[in-house]
Symmetry: C2
DNA sequence: CATGGCGCTTGATCTAAATCAAACCTGGCC
DNA sequence: GGCCAGGTTTGATTTAGATCAAGCGCCATG
């Protein structure tokens, strides 16, 4: 494992409270690989041999069912996947694929479980991480079941502009993923995402490729009606 | 707390591995209440003062957003809610309401966190319970995003007949909840659920009130295409 | 036993989104 | 610099599901 990446991995909430020797145990048995885009790292149904850590790039968690496919999560560095499968040693429910050139650390699941048994702080961190994942999944289900596709897009844009340091009235974002991936995560087709962007034009939303300008966020908020119980990742 | 209920609560996976004194700590501070149907036990956004244990009856976990509402989970005895909120001490993301006369134990969240800090086996059980909740939520999101409403109903019936001890070709179930609640959980209106039942008639599905007869389960499976990665609660 | 309320079913209509097709645009590769 | 492939946009059409309305049936209550 390149020592360059270790500090960034150490700083992850999951690992931060770990005793040094416990962290060393995990890192010593891990290895790091760089993957080009569109490589399938995990296939749903498979056994979770590793806890993956995305160090650089981007990863999509998705699932398929008889010629249909949907995106369930989009991961940014630095983050782990899939802790719930690793800790319970049950088959992956989701597949994972790189969406851009990515560097991923693979930590053997057995090592994770060994340290989990031994290190109290790690157990605490795991509990909080699992609770966060579960809460994120509930928010996603609420988003999909309670809102129309235009409402989901509007709220997505408001979240993204907050994450990218925009103002409270105007802002600009660069979409972090291809539009067809965002469409899939939001539960719609790429054509429909395009039409949804179009229907937000009267609310001050202007699209130029991957660049999106928001010039009337009050108006957009009135349409979107954001709530921290769905839209705030930290809540 | 009535001593009648304590053995059933003790047998829950979450509490089974607890040391006797730790379990006593939880039970001593808890109290038990009986509620009539349609009582709101939890409101989303509120602070999680208690971990609830459903001892008898039924509870629906649901969420609302500007005049819209959806069911996110239907709980049967004996089960707990909402562990993720209790353990992280963050606001409830879902509301809970009784769907029939129910007996519910309320265990103070502080006691839960105290025992979590002190009892290693409890920490393990909590991790597994959270992972299970997260996995169930992923399966629900997959069901909602990947399947049509008829496919969701067909798979629901196949699951329910397996849970109620039906055969592999024919079976009969009693719907455990009102149809409008099942419709909400499956992500459709009551009218649409009725029509979905109707469109399953050619597949051997016959409805009489809350009683459902399945007389051609091979045919129904070919339509439903069940997969353990969505439909098996134990997988 | 009668009445009223709520859940469910059915019919008619509307709408949001998917599907299919075609054209355009952009970026990467030769 | 040109070409090609993939992503995106736009148009037309279809479809799944929602909405609205009305009627029926069942269960609980008086």
């Amino acid at each position: 494992m390149r020592s360059d990446d270790v500090p960034e991995i150490r700083e992850l909430t999951l690992f931060r409270a770990l005793a040094d020797d416990a962290f060393e145990t995990l890192i010593r048995g891990a290895y790091l690989q760089t993957f080009p885009p569109t490589v399938e790292l995990i296939r749903e149904g498979d056994s979770p041999d590793f806890l993956h850590v995305l160090v650089e790039g981007g990863v999509e968690l998705f699932s398929g069912w008889h010629r249909r496919e949907t995106t369930l999560s989009m991961l940014a560095p630095v983050s782990t996947f899939i802790l719930a499968a690793t800790i319970t040693d049950r088959p992956y429910l989701m597949s994972a694929r790189t969406v851009s050139k990515s560097r991923v650390a693979l930590i053997p699941s057995e090592d994770v479980r060994t340290v989990f048994d031994a290190d109290r702080d790690f157990a605490n961190a795991i509990v909080n991480e699992l609770a966060d994942c579960f809460r994120a999944s509930i928010k996603h289900a609420k988003n999909v079941k309670l809102r129309s596709s235009v409402e989901r897009l509007a709220n997505y844009l408001l979240c993204e502009v907050a994450a990218q340091g925009g103002g409270s009235e105007e802002g600009q974002i660069t979409l972090p993923y291809e539009k067809r991936l965002i469409a899939s995560w939001l539960g719609m087709t790429p054509e429909n995402l395009s039409r949804a962007f179009g229907s937000l034009r009267p609310y001050g939303v202007k699209v130029e490729g991957a660049l999106v300008h928001l010039s009337d966020m009050s108006s957009l908020r009135r349409l979107a009606k954001p709530t921290p119980l769905i839209d705030d990742p930290a809540s």
